[in-house]
Assembly symmetry: C2
Homo-oligomer: 150 residues x 2
DNA sequence: AGATTTTTGCAACTATGTTGCTATTTCGGT
DNA sequence: ACCGAAATAGCAACATAGTTGCAAAAATCT
């Protein structure tokens, strides 16, 4: 895994500038980590992968900034470690619009956005209103299923 | 809110004995807290409501025991505080079977099990298998909607 | 009631997340 | 390229969440 090719360097810089965010080392590196990785990342994952390059607080603040700007979104979990994943186009400064589900693999422990699976409508009892729906499916992911079949 | 009426005292004792669990002060009190409360409780909630009566570790261990025996189940969250709620009949020693959704109210911040709302089937792409589905709906709950209408 | 088993409380530790403050970096204008 | 203002990073200190080992206390069994 290369530190940063000229191409990805440009890509993350452009992404940051598009959100009128200052281009800093930590923001570039953290954004790059998300781009070069299929699954979601927790704060701890990022800390490890960045190899002590940045302060813990900087990582927390960078993640929060990215969430605020609609670059990444949070994924709830049952193990008390919020995960983050890249947003697609629809999200932006101050607003998120997600209609996909999240998949947690019990084998590789990774969390994925399944963008092609749309969240169904949930009919609630009278008196309840819906702001947002989050669907977490737990099971075995594609890669792990294939690996097992070998 | 009474400490423990004779009736609830008997009820929690019976529940514990049915699971062949020793009947202790902490288990009785924590179970009682769940029974006298409509929403889910986090470890922190229980610590506060028990008023320093028990050690933090005891509460953690009691909750884990209750989860293992199928008395309560966990509810994932986006705020890094796992919540717990009573199971209905279907769950037991070593197994949980839940098909209801969870509702998080943005007003009162409470989390509720909506037992009457059944989780829909989620069709996944080829290669993925499903163990468990967790649905979290965020919005305004019944009580808060009524309160607003006043 | 006494022996045995289970549970509790304490201490010590790790992980996760937040806030205030100062030094450093980024960026816009010259 | 350089300067000043504004934004960001790092540090320290703190708060909350969760875990483990061990000895004392209690619940259960006979
Ligand atoms: Mn997602
Ligand atoms: Mn529930
Ligand atoms: Zn997997
Ligand atoms: Zn409410």
């Amino acid at each position: 895994m290369p530190r940063a090719t000229a191409a990805t360097e440009k890509k993350v810089t452009d992404l940051l500038k598009r959100q009128t965010l200052s281009v800093t080392e930590s923001r570039k590196r953290i954004l790059q980590l998300f781009l070069e990785q299929p699954g979601a990342l927790s704060h701890g994952d990022i800390e490890k992968r960045a190899g002590g390059m940045f302060d813990r607080v900087t990582i927390y603040r960078t993640l929060q900034t990215f969430v605020d700007r609609g670059l990444i979104h949070t994924i709830p979990s049952a193990d008390n470690a919020i995960r983050y994943a890249l947003c697609k186009d629809e999200c932006g400064d101050g607003h998120h619009r997600h209609e996909h589900i999240h998949f947690v693999c019990t084998e590789c422990e990774q969390t994925f956005c399944l963008d092609e699976v749309v969240t169904p409508v949930i009919r609630l009892p009278k008196g309840y209103s819906t702001d947002q729906i989050e669907i977490l499916v737990q099971g075995k992911c594609k890669q792990c299923t294939v690996a097992e079949r070998r």
